[in-house]
Symmetry: C2
DNA sequence: TCGAATGTTTCGATGTTCGAAATAAAAAAC
DNA sequence: GTTTTTTATTTCGAACATCGAAACATTCGA
């Protein structure tokens, strides 16, 4: 059926465009905010820290695809800038547990707000049942990416 | 209404996850392909070249957010690896016009196939009318990002 | 207790990116 | 028609991110 093939191509083109540009826009939006001193990659480190209770350095490294040694230098910078705290676990003193400072939590909330804004534009014109359709579609994509990720690591 | 707020949060969480991971998966997928010698950023340069007729170096630089000087070295590498061709415009001999080699076109088609695969997982479970709903939602998001991009540059 | 395993850090090397200055060609000014 | 200015690209040197191997500290297991 030609109509649905066209729709597929249009969705594909838009999706490619969105994927290619969202990172740069996120970066620019950070640069225009009160937090000009962190990059998008640093933002992802902050987000990874905030999403788990007290992750170790290497757990965060795995999430953001950095080697442990790169993680050390990245955390050094974020500590120096005042976004992240390091402290040795007292149960296992080899581990470094990471946490956010107040400033770290603030910038993370700003990052969350940015993403909520995007989602708002995605679904704002939809009624409840159409939102469920979109949710279902995105969950399928997410699951596929998750499986790919797992089969690679 | 509580139900739609929950749906919003679920869509938002999934979308954040997809945005955060699609780049890494794309990179890993490249690394597992016949084209292990190009990075995702180099892939974006190749895609930008292929999407315009005979773009100049600085036009491509703008699309992929590199400075002209960085573009020079990036193109050097892609020429050396055999993906890109440089040639001076004959109408204006200051300009360098970029094009893909055969190998460049092949890797671009592989990249296209990867994205089509993603789109396939996004929409595969949907009937035609639901596909239109999803298309509409993504077009809204794309338009918003496009406006943001334009208001920044 | 001692050796292996684990988590982190240090160090040196590589690669990417940038900005300023250099180069080359075209366009504008005179 | 020559000179000046603008435009597109490149070169050079510096800054930064990332990595792998080795070092270090700590815990676990034989």
């Amino acid at each position: 059926m030609v109509a649905s093939e066209d729709t597929f191509e249009e969705i594909n083109d838009a999706l490619v465009d969105v994927f290619n540009n969202v990172g740069w826009i996120e970066e620019a939006s950070l640069h225009n905010s009160d937090f000009k001193d962190i990059s998008l990659k640093e933002m992802h480190i902050i987000a990874a820290i905030s999403m788990y209770k007290e992750p170790s350095a290497s757990e965060v490294a795995k999430i953001v695809h950095l080697t442990p040694s790169s993680m050390t230098t990245a955390v050094d910078k974020l500590v120096k800038k005042g976004y992240v705290e390091r402290r040795r676990s007292q149960s296992d003193r080899r581990m470094v547990r990471l946490g956010l400072t107040h400033r770290g939590r603030v910038v993370y909330r700003a990052h969350q707000a940015f993403h909520r804004h995007l989602t708002h534009y995605l679904v704002d014109s939809l009624d409840v049942s159409d939102m469920r359709v979109v949710e279902d579609a995105i969950l399928h994509l997410q699951e596929y990416l998750h499986n790919l990720n797992h089969s690679i690591n």
